[in-house]
Symmetry: C2
Subunit: 392 residues, 2 copies
Amino acid sequence: MRKIEAVDFFYLSMPEVTTEGDGSQDALLVRVAAGGIVGWGECEASPLVSIAAFVCPMSHGACRPVGSSVLGQRLEGPEDIARIAAQIELDSMDLLQAPHTWSGVEIALWDLLGKARQQPVWKLLGYRESFRKLPYASQLFGDTPAQTYQQAVEARRQNFRAVKFGWGPIGRGDLQSDFEHFASAREGLGKDALLMVDVGQIFGDNVPAAAARLPILEQVGAVWLEEPFHTSALDAYASLSQRSSVKLAAGEGAHNFYMAQHLIDFGCVGYIQVDCGRIGGIGPAKRVADYAAAKGVTFVNHTFTSHLALSASLQPYAGLRSDEICEYPFAPKPLARDLTFNHLERDDEGYVSAPDAPGLGIEIDTEAARCYLVDVEIKVKGRLLFASSDQI
Amino acid sequence: MRKIEAVDFFYLSMPEVTTEGDGSQDALLVRVAAGGIVGWGECEASPLVSIAAFVCPMSHGACRPVGSSVLGQRLEGPEDIARIAAQIELDSMDLLQAPHTWSGVEIALWDLLGKARQQPVWKLLGYRESFRKLPYASQLFGDTPAQTYQQAVEARRQNFRAVKFGWGPIGRGDLQSDFEHFASAREGLGKDALLMVDVGQIFGDNVPAAAARLPILEQVGAVWLEEPFHTSALDAYASLSQRSSVKLAAGEGAHNFYMAQHLIDFGCVGYIQVDCGRIGGIGPAKRVADYAAAKGVTFVNHTFTSHLALSASLQPYAGLRSDEICEYPFAPKPLARDLTFNHLERDDEGYVSAPDAPGLGIEIDTEAARCYLVDVEIKVKGRLLFASSDQI
């Protein structure tokens, strides 16, 4: 019987981390070993806090460290991953960070299982085919409309047919400033490219403030308005959705299946974007993809880091032909690029696909990863609970 | 101008922590200092992970440590607490543990403000009066129905007119076993005492399994069935609620206002029970109390630890006369009892009240606390981010 023998976390970081909204500045890489096979995953979460949630002392029966539900467990098939997930839900019920920690482990378990069976993860999920996706270049708005324009031109020069701009100055200044950014983006992209706009929850649950941007979003032909509100502000989503001809998109903040379900059912979003590195991994993301398909809502991955995370994020909807759009980190930090030997490069027509290779089909460049390794030590009652290792 | 000068965390624990569902086995005590005044609060959360979320390195602009939004901030009135909370919502958006960490800090800030103004927190919240509450003895089911019976008898002997049994064997065996526990509880309590049942999310989102217990809960006259499901399984709550003459109760897992709101609006619970030590503190709990009152839903505190946490949990609904029931730890571990000099003892008629004293009205026994102090050290890149101090 195959058992989970080891789970190792590697906290990687750029030498300098800034306040820009770029999630590729650090990474929490996870390696799982079982029966002589190794799988890799990535948490999209604070590395230190997520490590702490794996190794922390138990507080009581429903606040146990994630590690206690994982280490030593049987791993023969997907049903074992689901069983471990259910156990964590009960035994780490009061440990809020648990889903973020578990996500990276869960992804690594799928990678490992796929390698063991010599099948891509999307086949283990029940798909027969991995349909190609149209990547959109995902990037931050410029500080000025002129910068936004330049970035749009550059994305088009690199043959992206879809581009998303996010965060930065939007919603922090006046309407005119936002309009200039949106208009500059459209101007730089030309008429035909798909333009998406992501405002990073800036409006909290203030519907009128978000609604004030709708006419200019319609004017520039935005495909969607992403995250106008707090992930849980379902009433605000529903209310804005009713007023808007531009569809709403959200879901990256979901840390379980239900939160995504509620964004669909109660928030009335048109696009559901979950991050495998936060929602509890590939299993719950697949459940969201199935649910979205049944409800006529389009599934889109959320990914802003490495191509390991990108491959993981494509698996849950690889077999959904009509859900074609995919987020593609446009200008990640060197860490995110260097972390893997291979990358999901676009084909001649500009598409990418989840690899037709065992597991996630991504090879980690362990030597490169070592260069970004952050030294961490956690001691409780004089006992070393975690010490970073350079044995990547 | 008063500024937040220091926030100190003290991880306290019983020498031995077991897998029983007793949340009083450890505690995360928080001390805040501003303008020569000190306030105390408590997180109802994993101490190590919550500390890590205060001190962790920034991952990017929306994944900053909680500390960066708190230290050095102005603290003149309640509006400053709300402002800091809003800043954390944006700047620690991707740090899942943040609400649990912030909860204890927020409570301490209210305590500090109350002391500065020489007013109880419930007055700062806008209440004119602190109405007395009927405490229910909150305890775990026995391992056997005979033990459950004995515990019920003991609670009555101690003059509790309301008793809640929770967790333990319920939902893990067959219906007959559950029935025997419920019946033994009722038998031990006698006809007149209020009996509540808490099953600790054991049914996940399995409505039929929970529904199978309804007839026996009705038969023993249970006031409510608490947490049959995962906090976010709103459909399951709504579905069970429709079939049940016993009202449903939930909310302790809410880590923001919206989650409690959705349990009311979409989950159709009859009792909303939030924990100030998890939902983001006293501010959001008060918002839930107001919302519940407007919707005809009864607010109940969730508290299973010290009387510092108990006082904090009473403030948000101190002024709601008709919401009379309150959770009262019946047999907490010595740590939870020893932590404070004074306790919210029951009056001659068996009631307790939020203190009519500055702040939370609870004095910390720092010497006793020191006896339970857990030594913690967190180092990142060779820098000491946290070291526990015995300067309580």
